[in-house]
């Protein structure tokens, strides 16, 4: 059964910033991506590194739409695990290196200036 936890004030995490909070015995990263909040586990599935301690960035992608040329995309939407540089799309939890793998993205609400995350 899921529970809603208060994790601080919304203005403590401005756009482009993120922080790691303790929720019970779990560590959760709260990200502000252009005004919208997302919560991811602070644990990478690869070797269990502290994913949400990593930096937020864009990334390099190439596909048929770009004529198979590398393009800089998803600015501010990618978090990079500080252990081994695996990249994850913050909004969806999708791992960019392994298309069949993702981490959870927990719902975050802003209510009266307070952030709550539902785990």
């Amino acid at each position: 059964m899921s529970t809603e936890y208060e994790v601080g004030t919304a203005d403590s995490i401005p756009p482009g910033q993120h922080r790691v909070v303790s929720v019970g015995d779990r560590q959760i990263g709260i990200f502000n991506v252009a005004g919208a909040f997302y919560a991811l586990p602070n644990a990478c599935f690869h070797q269990n590194g502290p994913l949400c301690r990593g930096r937020v960035s864009g990334t390099i992608l190439a596909d048929a739409a770009s004529g198979h040329k590398p393009e800089w995309r998803l600015e501010g939407e990618v978090v990079i695990c500080p252990w081994h540089s695996l990249e994850f799309h913050i909004k969806t939890g999708r791992c960019l290196a392994y298309s069949n793998r993702k981490v959870s993205v927990y719902p975050v609400r802003v209510h009266d200036g307070m952030l709550t995350v539902t785990l």
Partner: protein, 378 residues
């Protein structure tokens, strides 16, 4: 912006219970040696070179005449790594290893992974001698669970043998580091025999370790590749393949039957591939290698292989199958490569589905045997 002080980069990983209850020997840990560190340990006139080198710009594994790298790939520019990737003191390393769950670490250099790229033999020998003296004096002066790998200057194997004899009895010198980066000739060449004689005499394993570099020497002539993605594979795993083949074709394991040979930083899946290819070739060309009276794989599988960077197939049971092919339970030794970019956490290697007894051997028992250490009861 968050004002939290971030915790140690290893602190938030919860070590498994199995890891907590396992004696772990880590056969590849890196310590950072700067030119200025070695100045007090270096003979004249070469000390003057180190004093000058301290004034030039340093990049990671890229210092002229010290770690003479040529970066032609964009990998460095695309690097996303922000965490610390060097260790500067024994106390810092001990804290890191404690957080990793490692009891004993075997120390290899950073910059001198490229020592074999240095051309002037006298200079290369002087730097190796300075490194070994610094290693013993600064890192091995007391028992911290740190074991040193002596740097053998391949440019002068007789001088390398003298270094082994100089420090071979030190209680915390555990093996001999053979730099494999762009090494020429490969380590089967008979000019290296004095080194192997000395290592065998002192019961010290030799540990081959490579690093990525571009140089017109087999198999490091990597100019064909556009990416570090490709070059890095050859610089490590294929370098080990080349040197293992060289040692087998001149019969190193036959001529030095008590010499233990360890291959590091190349994972383990190249081993069964090479063993099977060599056996196939041997059936037709045995006369060229008459020293080998058994299948080549017999000798190869009697060598030792450090896990890092451990292969991570989607089905980790594939790793158990691979290890079964070459009897890896008795010849694979855990290595983390801490603090480098592609380090492995011990808990990852513990995910390979082999028996608990085999896990204990891989994580510590085999390494302890190589280093002559007792495995404490847990």
């Amino acid at each position: 912006m968050s004002t939290d002080v971030p915790p140690h980069i290893l602190a938030e990983h919860r070590r498994s219970r199995l890891l907590e209850n396992t004696f772990v020997v880590d056969f590849d840990v890196h310590i950072n040696e700067r030119p200025s560190d070695l100045v007090p340990f270096c003979e004249l006139p070469w000390r003057k070179a180190l004093e000058e080198l301290e004034k030039v710009p340093h990049r990671y594994l890229d210092i002229p005449a010290f770690a003479p790298n040529i970066s032609v790939w964009a990998g460095a520019a695309f690097s996303t790594l922000e965490r610390r990737t060097i260790v500067s003191s024994p106390g810092q390393l001990r804290e890191d290893l404690d957080l990793l769950g490692v009891d004993v670490g075997v120390l290899f250099p950073d910059n001198f992974l490229m020592h074999s790229l240095l051309k002037p033999a006298d200079y290369a020998v002087a730097l190796a001698r300075a490194y070994n003296r610094w290693l013993v004096d600064v890192w091995l002066s007391e028992d911290r669970g740190l074991i040193g790998a002596l740097l053998a200057p391949n440019q002068d194997p007789v001088a390398a043998a003298a270094e082994i004899r100089r420090f071979g009895d030190h209680p915390r010198v555990g093996c001999v580091f053979l730099p494999t980066c762009c090494v020429d000739p490969l380590y089967g060449h008979r000019s290296y025999d004095p080194m192997y004689d000395a290592a065998q005499e002192f019961g010290l394993p030799v540990a081959l370790h490579s690093v990525q570099a571009l140089n017109p020497v087999f198999p490091f002539n990597l100019q064909a590749f556009e990416t570090a993605f490709s070059a890095h594979v050859i610089s490590h795993a294929v370098s080990m393949v080349a040197n293992a083949m060289s040692m087998l074709e001149t019969g190193v394991p036959v001529r030095f039957p008590d010499l233990k040979i360890v291959f590091t930083e190349s994972g383990v899946t190249w081993v069964p591939w090479l063993g099977m290819r060599l056996d196939k070739e041997y059936s037709e060309r045995r006369r060229e290698v008459p020293l080998l009276t058994e299948r080549p794989s017999h000798y190869l599988y009697g060598m030792y292989f450090a896990t890092q960077p451990i292969e991570e197939p989607e089905r980790m049971r594939d790793m158990a199958l691979m290890m079964e092919v070459f009897g890896g339970e008795n010849s694979v030794v855990f290595a983390s490569d801490w603090p480098h970019h592609d380090f492995d956490h011990p808990d990852k290697v513990l995910q390979i589905p082999i028996s608990d007894d085999a896990k204990r051997k891989v994580m510590g028992g085999n390494g302890a045997r190589l280093l002559g250490l007792e495995v404490p009861a847990r």
